[in-house]
């Protein structure tokens, strides 16, 4: 088991993939290191949110994903 990172919306195009696996545990620094510099730049934007195990983190820098967790990277939304 590992941590699955999901790239939502336009981040899919930036990452070049919809998902990838990472070793657990995964923290904020580890996430920035593994997603590549372009995605990492976007992650630092306040408008980009991070969800872990189905919950949107109020402080994304507090990320601590464990074995089996899904980490979703959520860029600015556009519905309706």
């Amino acid at each position: 088991m590992a941590v699955t990172i999901l790239f939502l919306g336009p981040l899919q195009d930036v990452a070049g993939t919809a998902s990838r696996d990472a070793a657990a545990p995964l923290d904020w620094a580890g996430l920035l290191a593994i997603v590549g510099p372009e995605v990492a730049d976007q992650l630092r934007d306040d408008r980009v949110n991070v969800a872990c195990a189905g919950r949107v983190l109020s402080d994304k820098q507090s990320l601590r994903a464990m074995d089996g967790d899904e980490v979703a990277l959520l860029p600015p939304v556009s519905g309706g």
């Binding site: 336009p10 969800a51 189905g54 899904e70 979703a72 939304v77 556009s78 519905g79 309706g80």
Partner: protein, 148 residues
């Protein structure tokens, strides 16, 4: 009556609104908004993606806020996901209340939040490929009207 849904196939807003109205006996008014894919030149399709664990839950929280904030009898909030063609409905919000103001304001409130604060990502297909759509500055300004 509360009906919050994600749909992955075309729907008939008129039929949804009719059954929603019938499910709120004694109402004084119903206000409904239906959003459709604009038939713009060069746009052949729109795709709405979402994130299963949080998108519907976020719409339920938005409905909770609307019930807290407005004097409502019922709320219908339906949003499409998947690939949608020009002229097809994307979203339908309908509110039932004893008096018009609650119904009208609730629909306005829900739409402003669905546009720029619900967990959806939208892209459109043009002749040169897919393009992601970000909310316009107006969409953020519309939502900020509701901040207390």
């Amino acid at each position: 009556m509360r009906d919050i849904r994600l749909l992955n196939a075309p729907f008939d807003p008129g039929a949804l609104i009719a059954s929603f109205s019938a499910a709120n006996p004694g109402l004084g008014g119903v206000c409904s908004f239906v959003g459709e894919v604009r038939g713009e030149q060069d746009v052949t399709a729109l795709e709405l993606s979402h994130y299963e664990p949080i998108t519907l839950a976020g719409m339920e929280q938005l409905a909770d806020s609307a019930f807290d904030r407005f004097d409502l009898m019922g709320l219908l909030m339906v949003h499409r996901i998947g690939v949608i063609g020009p002229g097809e409905p994307i979203v339908c919000v309908s509110a039932a209340a004893l008096h018009r103001r609650g119904a009208i304001d609730a629909v306005d409130f829900c739409m402003d939040h669905l546009k720029s604060a619900a967990w959806f990502w939208k892209r459109e297909q043009r002749s040169d490929g897919w393009h992601w759509i970000e909310p316009r500055a107006d969409d953020y300004a519309d939502r900020s009207r509701w901040e207390k």
